[in-house]
Symmetry: C2
Subunit: 540 residues, 2 copies
């Protein structure tokens, strides 16, 4: 039954559905292409450990009869819910290393069932780990402590419950994935326009719990900004805020739940702000001689009040890697969208600002009106987005091909931007050389989100793995990059949450009295400490 | 010494400086004009109780020698810090009713002095009440419990400490008033653009602590949105966040401090987002046959992505009252501003949208460029803003003239907007008739802030007072309006905070688990409960 909820089964070790995994021969071909493109020596291509060969420790919990129908403890369910989707997770899944799988996976179909699961967990002294798409890249769904554990998969709660077209808002269950909620909103001519890289699998509740970064490069950069009200079940009652467009009544209850990563309550539904489909679009690719010049243009744009929806600056290596451009220049992927008005004035002023910093359009700008239904998105924008959504699939092949692949992102104010990016890039390069040798390796950077007072740089590392030592190599690179970010004043995460992996740096970053307040707040609503222990606070 | 900090002395009972209070004969003239304008019968004009006639209970605390230099306990200081600036406060101040004045008023000049004051208060078991401009209209600075109390006036901390023109941000001390911080920012060609009605007297720390609503009618509606990082002293250490343009690391520490109204810590400084002076402006006054039609236009504008900086809709009575227009139509005061680009495309599309809802420009739209330094603001915008800043001064005269004057504001989603405004308006009218008789009285409404999913209606009540019974009359109207707002699903405050006056409705509005979390969080950072007890939580 729990499997039936999904229809198609997700891979137990990597990205996407089982039927999306290409045959081994194709992986071998792709791997050769990738390694050649990166300049890495040839290397054997490995195969993932088949589910039939995965061995898990026996479950230490048995659900009560009343919950049996929605609980599973078979190897597929436990393995598929054991890890998130960081490089480290995929390597372990690929190798069949599921050392601490959940003892039981529960699939509640409604709030009473969820409540019963939480009560049972509390009675058993078990950890309860909320699980949406399982796409955490920071150890957010992997419990590593000593208690028995129940992973609570929320994907059965996947409906759009109410649409308020007048207020442009919709009430949506937390377990709805991106495609599920979009297809239901489309019936009303509406769209949420939140497109994180994990869009196909991650869920509304997960986006809210982790402050996911989404589609808009300016203004509404995080899921935070799209939330009108939230409902969550805590072990001590329902946490439900009023639907309000704005309020000044005390510290925002929503903003305290947003980013709580399942430690204060399990989000069951939310009213979110939706949009009409933006029929007007204007986009352009702009080339810059240097990433620094492009960043100055992004600063101008972010401070201009033009509010582009897309304003992503790729350094030359990143542009080449994602095949968005290969002319050795930094590329700004610039886009505006509106359901209301033509965007000519917006785009032309934006191009002018880019010109002030030496930016030159790469190809013709694209202007679309609602009637241009058959038109293509701007070339640079389209190419970049396709590569963006394909990246996590590609990573599965990188693991097979013996390529370490890590991304990390942060945010910093403009006054420190140049030095900061250099420092972090150098630290990553040094760590890569130390962990992977002096051969070819790639550290690229793009700006994903821009603010009047700063920007969010996003780094990608690709380096040759030593088979069997990937986790140590990855750990060294991750720690060095995180140290560099924290030391230079950035945030340990701009939009990938804290989970368990970012704890050492998060603990240093947050104000100590706030940490004390957060721990006390958790104890008030989750006195037994069952909810996602080790995430944000407490021992794992 | 403490007085010397101010230079000019604020009135101990009402709005503005002592030297701004007009002579009694002028008040008599103004009062006659006001009452005639409102259609109220003539009535004697009272005089405020002079400071020399104010009697206060003796102070119950004596500061230690080390703090004597920055502490005061004279009648002026204690009376001037006893109350906020609600109608209820001004009536009591006018009558010399200061039943629970602070025992001591402290004026720390730096963080070590503030720390010492908090330590002393904790040792004495005294309440410590943070005080900026003292312009709270919700009982935010009036301690009403049984402990001795120290009011902590922060206005000596009034400097802009650092300006980062690259990131468009400034580090400013919490006690800086609007004019003080603007004059310091102006030297750098920058402006905060936060103009609450209390702008001349209220302070940055107060704005942050109370989630003050400001200048921008869309996008950055609250002080919340202008804060990059905050520093506060709690009884258990310094709460200081990193300067970050954006972050996804756990629930935002800033968003938990913002709106905490002095209950978690005393804000000492903040990095805030500032702007270049907007040389480009475009504005228009648009008339509508009905408030409802105007509201539909505001909804279109708020959902259009045009982001007007001013989008204030006055009903016909409000437009007449503020002398913005007197033609019996609802008036939309619409404005755009930019430091970057001409706004012709923005304004013309906005006017088109208004036209779709029957709106017609009242006079010529005004378009200004940076070089038009001598030009006036758009007529409607200018007239409205002048009346806006003068309103609190006028209220002092209303008290003398025997006119009850109350404002209250809320926010609601668009789907319920029409019924909501009718319900609240009727409830206020019914309460006014009950409390003040069936004679002439005014209940007006404007929209101050607009969101894609709703708007913030702001109501003004003017009614004849029965001398000596004003507080009962006010209490009846306030309770009825608050009940109507809470019952119909609105927020008890959009931008005037909770304080002590809104507690009954706030307690019902917030999620119960959040209330438990907030209380626990406070106990963690303020275990003795000295900080502003009774505000947001706890007994007064």
């Amino acid at each position: 039954m729990p499997q039936a909820i999904e229809g198609r089964r997700l891979k137990h070790w990597g990205w996407g559905y089982e039927d999306q995994q290409p045959p081994h021969e194709q992986v071998v071909q792709a791997a050769a292409g990738i390694r050649a493109h990166l300049g890495f020596a040839e290397s054997e291509v490995e195969r993932p450990v088949a589910l039939a060969d995965v061995r898990l420790r026996p479950p230490r919990l048995e659900p009560p009869a009343a919950l049996a129908e929605i609980c599973a403890a078979d190897t597929y369910q436990r393995a598929a819910h054991a890890l998130g989707k960081s490089y480290r997770d995929v390597v372990r899944g690929f190798r069949g290393q599921f050392d601490q799988p959940p003892d039981v996976v529960a699939h509640p179909r409604n709030e009473p069932e969820l409540s019963a699961v939480l009560e049972w967990a509390e009675a058993e002294g078990a950890a309860a780990i909320p699980f949406g798409g399982g796409t955490s890249v920071v150890g957010g769904v992997e419990y590593t402590g000593e208690r028995p554990s129940v992973t609570v998969d929320l994907r059965a709660l996947d409906r759009v419950l109410e649409v308020d077209a007048t207020s442009r808002a919709a009430r949506i269950q937390a377990g709805a994935t991106g495609p599920r909620l979009q297809e239901q909103l489309r019936e009303h001519g509406l769209t949420l326009r939140h497109f994180p890289q994990s869009f196909e699998y991650s869920t509304l509740g997960g986006w809210i719990a982790t402050r996911a970064g989404g589609h808009f490069a300016t203004l509404w950069t995080h899921m935070d900004d799209l939330v009108e009200s939230v409902r969550a079940l805590t072990p001590r009652g329902v946490w439900q805020s009023r639907r309000l467009p704005g309020s000044g009544a005390g510290p925002s209850p929503d903003r305290f739940l947003i980013g709580s990563e399942g430690t204060l309550g399990v989000i069951t539904e939310a009213w979110v702000r939706v949009h009409e489909k933006p029929g007007y679009r204007a986009s352009a690719g702009i080339g810059f001689d240097s990433f620094e010049a492009g960043a100055e243009a992004v600063r101008s744009l972010a401070q201009s009040g033009l509010h582009p929806s897309n304003c992503r600056l790729l350094d030359a290596a990143e542009a080449a890697l994602t095949r968005a451009s290969a002319d050795g220049r930094a590329l700004l992927v610039l886009g505006f969208e509106s359901a209301d008005h033509p965007l000519d004035a917006w785009l032309s002023r934006a191009i002018e600002l880019c010109g002030d910093h030496g930016g030159a359009p790469a190809g013709e700008p694209v202007l679309r009106r609602p009637q241009d239904e058959t038109g293509e998105r701007g070339e640079a924008e389209g190419a970049w987005r396709d590569a963006f959504l394909q990246a996590p699939y590609a990573r599965d092949r990188l693991v097979a091909a013996g390529v370490i692949s890590e991304t990390f992102e942060t945010a910093i104010t403009w006054d420190r931007f140049g030095d900061f990016v250099s420092t972090v890039r150098s630290a990553a390069q040094t760590a890569v050389a130390k962990a992977c040798g002096d051969g070819p390796a790639l550290v690229t950077c793009r700006l994903t989100h821009a603010y009047p007072d700063g920007a969010a740089p996003y780094f990608t590392v690709l380096a040759p793995a030593r088979r069997g030592s990937e986790l140590e190599q990855w750990g060294q690179i991750k720690a060095a990059a995180s140290e560099a970010i924290a030391g230079a004043g950035g945030t340990i995460t701009h939009h990938h949450a804290v989970g368990r992996d970012h704890r050492p740096w998060y603990d240093r970053q947050r104000p100590e009295p706030f940490a004390a307040a957060l721990r006390a707040a958790k104890a008030a609503v989750d006195p037994a400490g069952i909810l996602n222990p080790g995430v944000l606070m407490g021992e794992a």
